[in-house]
C-alpha cells in the first residue's frame, strides 16, 4: 500500500524528517506516536502533497507508484485521504455540495461519470448514521461554526464518503471528549476493510484503546526510532517519551 524509503524533508533549509522508512500493508492500521515537534504532522502533509516542503532524498511509493510528483488533488484521486488536525471552515459551501464535487472530481479522474443523485444521497444517509451525525449537519457550511468534536466527526464522515485506500488521521483525537472519541473510533473501525489501510497519528495512547493498531511507530527527532506491536503504545504510556530519548 505505502512504502516510504529514506525520506528526508526540509522546510526553508531546516531538515525536519531525517530518513523515514515506513511500510504499510493493505488491511493494516499503523499508529505513529511521538512528542510534539518531532515531525509527525510534517510526515502527514508530505504524504498528502502539501506545498512548501522540500523532499531532499528518498521516495514515497503509494500502490506501486512514486507519488512525489503528483499534486495534492491527484494523490487524493489515487486514494489518499488526510484527516486534518485543524479542519478548515468554508462558509457558504454546504457539506453536501462539497462532497459531491469532491466525489465527482475523483470519478472524473478515474474516467467515470458523475455519481447519480439518488445514489449519492443514499450513501450520505448511510454514512451519516455510521457517525451518528445530525440530519441538519449535511446542509450546513463545511466546518463553519462547528465544535471541535463536530469538525473531527466531519473529517471521518468525509473519509467514509470518499472511501480512500489509505487514510492518514492527524491527531484526530485532539479536542475530543470521550463520547466523540468513541464515535470517531467506531467509524474508523467500521470502515476498516482488508483492502484499505489507516495511519493514525497521535500524541496519546488513549485513542489506541479504541482503534487497535497492528503496528506502533515512535517518531523522534525526524526518525522512526522504534516500531512494535500495540504493546509498545502501553509501554510508552507507562514510561513516557523520556524513555525513548534516553534509548535513542
Amino acid at each position: 500500500m505505502l512504502s516510504i524509503r529514506n525520506l528526508h524533508v526540509s522546510i526553508k533549509g531546516k531538515e525536519i524528517l531525517k530518513g523515514i522508512n515506513l511500510e504499510v500493508n493493505p488491511g493494516e492500521v499503523h499508529a505513529i506516536m511521538g512528542p510534539n515537534g518531532t515531525g509527525k504532522s510534517t510526515l502527514a502533509y508530505v504524504i498528502s502533497g502539501r506545498d512548501g516542503y522540500d523532499v531532499t532524498e528518498g521516495e514515497i511509493i503509494f500502490k506501486g507508484r512514486n507519488i512525489l510528483d503528483l499534486s495534492a488533488e491527484e494523490r487524493a484521486c489515487e486514494g489518499l485521504f488526510l484527516g486534518f488536525q485543524y479542519p478548515v471552515e468554508i462558509p457558504g459551501v454546504s457539506i453536501t455540495n462539497f462532497l459531491r464535487t469532491a466525489i465527482n472530481e475523483q470519478r472524473k479522474y478515474k474516467g467515470l461519470d458523475p455519481v447519480p443523485a439518488p445514489e449519492f444521497l443514499a450513501k450520505m444517509e448511510e454514512k451519516k448514521q455510521l457517525l451518528e451525525l445530525q440530519d441538519k449537519l449535511a446542509s450546513r457550511s463545511v466546518n463553519e461554526g462547528f465544535s471541535g468534536g463536530e469538525k473531527k466527526k466531519n473529517e471521518i464522515f468525509q473519509m467514509a464518503m470518499l472511501e480512500p485506500s489509505l487514510a492518514i488521521l492527524d491527531e484526530t483525537d485532539s479536542g475530543l471528549d470521550i463520547d466523540a472519541l468513541r464515535i470517531v473510533a467506531t467509524g474508523v473501525n467500521k470502515l476498516r476493510r482488508p483492502d484499505n489501510s489507516t495511519v493514525v497519528i497521535t500524541h496519546y495512547q488513549r485513542l489506541l484503546e479504541y482503534i487497535v493498531p497492528d503496528v506502533v511507530h515512535v517518531l523522534f527527532d525526524g526518525r522512526i526510532v522504534k516500531s512494535g506491536g500495540k504493546e509498545l503504545a502501553l509501554l510508552l504510556e507507562e514510561k513516557g517519551y523520556e524513555w525513548i530519548r534516553s534509548e535513542s
Binding site: 506545498d51 495534492a72 459531491r100
Partner: protein, 473 residues
Amino acid sequence: MEAGIVATTYNLKEYLQGVIIARKHEIGLNDTPVVAQKRADAFELFCRMGFPHAALEKWRGTDLSRALNYEYQALPEQPSADIDIEKIFKCDVPHFETLLVSQLNGWYADRNNLLQVYPNGMIIGSLAAAFRKYPELVNAHYGKYADDKADGLTALNTAMSQDGIFIYIPDNVTVEQNIQTVNITDFKQNLFLNTRNLVILGENSHLRLVQCDDSINHDVTFINSVTEVKIGRNATLDHYKMQNKDDHTTLINSMFFHQDEGSSLSTNAISLNGGLIRNLSHVTMSGSHSNAEVYGLYLMDRYQHVDNQVFINHAAPECESRELFKGVLDDHASGVFNGHIKVHRDAQKTNAFQTNKNILLSDKATIDTKPFLEIYADDVKCSHGATIGQLDPEALFYIRSRGISEANAKILLMYAFAADVINKISIPELRQRMDDMVKKRLRGELSQCEQCVLNCSTHEHQKVDFKIDLSKI
C-alpha cells in the same frame, strides 16, 4: 490610437454645455417651474464644477479622463411608439415574477402608456410625464435628495436629464410583486446618457425594487444615472442593483435615499462586469428608529474598475446602519471603497457598522479602501473594518486534499467569500439566480451572450440554461 478617441481638440464639457443651451426648450419641455429652476441652477453648478477629477477627495481613486475623452451623442431620440420591448429584452429568471419596467436609452419605453395607475393606487411610468400629470408630487420630492452641489455629474444629470422612471407607492400599500426596472442602451453610436429616476414610498408602504443595467450595443457608453428615493414613515424598501455591463461602458450610478422615522432600507449593489462602475449610496436618516443595510459585491478582472462610495448620514437619534462590501479583483482590475459615516450631534444612540473585505488575486490588482467616520454625538456605537488579502493557502490545500483541482478550489473559496453578500438577497428566486451568476462569473463563463445582467435572451441569442452544475461547485 483607438477608434473613437479624439485626443486634442475635443472637450466633452464644452460640448455638453453647448447641447444644453442649444436644446434648452426640448430638454425642459415637461418641466414644472420648480424643476425648471433646479435645472437652471444645476447647469450653473456644472459649468462651474465641470466633471469630477482626481484632485477631489472623493474621486481620488477613480480616473474618468479616459472615459471623458470619447466623442459622444448626448440626447438620444425617444423610442418610437410601436417598439416591442419584449423583442429587445426578456427576463427569464425562472419563477421570478416581476412587474417589468423598461427604459430604452434613458426613455421610459412604453410610449403608448406613459403612466400606469394600478388598482392599489400605485403609479409607475415616465418621469417626464409625471412632471406634467403629478406636479405636486414631483415638486415635493424632485431634486430634494440628490446633492447637485456635491458632484458635477449629479449637477449635469439634473441639468440635462429628459426622462427616467417614476414610481409612487401610496400610504399603507404593500406591493406584492417585485418591480424590476431594466435600463437598456441600444444605440448605433457612442452614447452619453443622463437618466433620472424618482421613487416615492408613502407611509407604511412596502416595496421590493430590482434595478438592472443591460447593454445591447457594444459602442462606448457613458451612463450617468441619478435615482432619488423617498422612504416614508415606517415604510420598507428592499432594493437591488444588478450590474453586468461590457468593458466599454462607464456607469455612474448615484442613489440618494431619504429615510423618514421608523423606515427600513436594504440596498445591495452587485457588480459582475463593467469597464468602469461607480456606485454612490447616499443615505440620509432624517427620522429616528430607522434602519439601513447597505451591501455590495464586486467581481472585477481585466482592466475593469469599480468604485463604491457610501455616505450614511445619521441625522436622527436611535437609528442603525450596517454596511458590508466584499470584492474579488483579478488581473489589472482596480477598486475603491469609500465609507463615510456621519453622526450628527443630535443623533444619539446611533449604531453604525461598516465592513469592507477584499481578495486580490493578482499582484497587479489594487484596492483603495477607506473608512471615514465623522461623529459629533457622544452616545454612539460605531465600528469599521477593512481587510485585503489573498486566498487562504491552508483552505486551498484542505479542498485540494479531497481531490478537487486547484482551479476549482480557488473558485470554491471565492464563491464562499462572496456568499455572505449573496445570502443577504431576500427574494429567493433572485438569490438563486445571482448565486448562479456569481458561480459562472468566477468560472469565467459569463460570456458575451450573457452580458445582460439577468441573462436576457435577445432575438440574436440562444437562451442559456442556468442549471447549476454541481460537479463544478
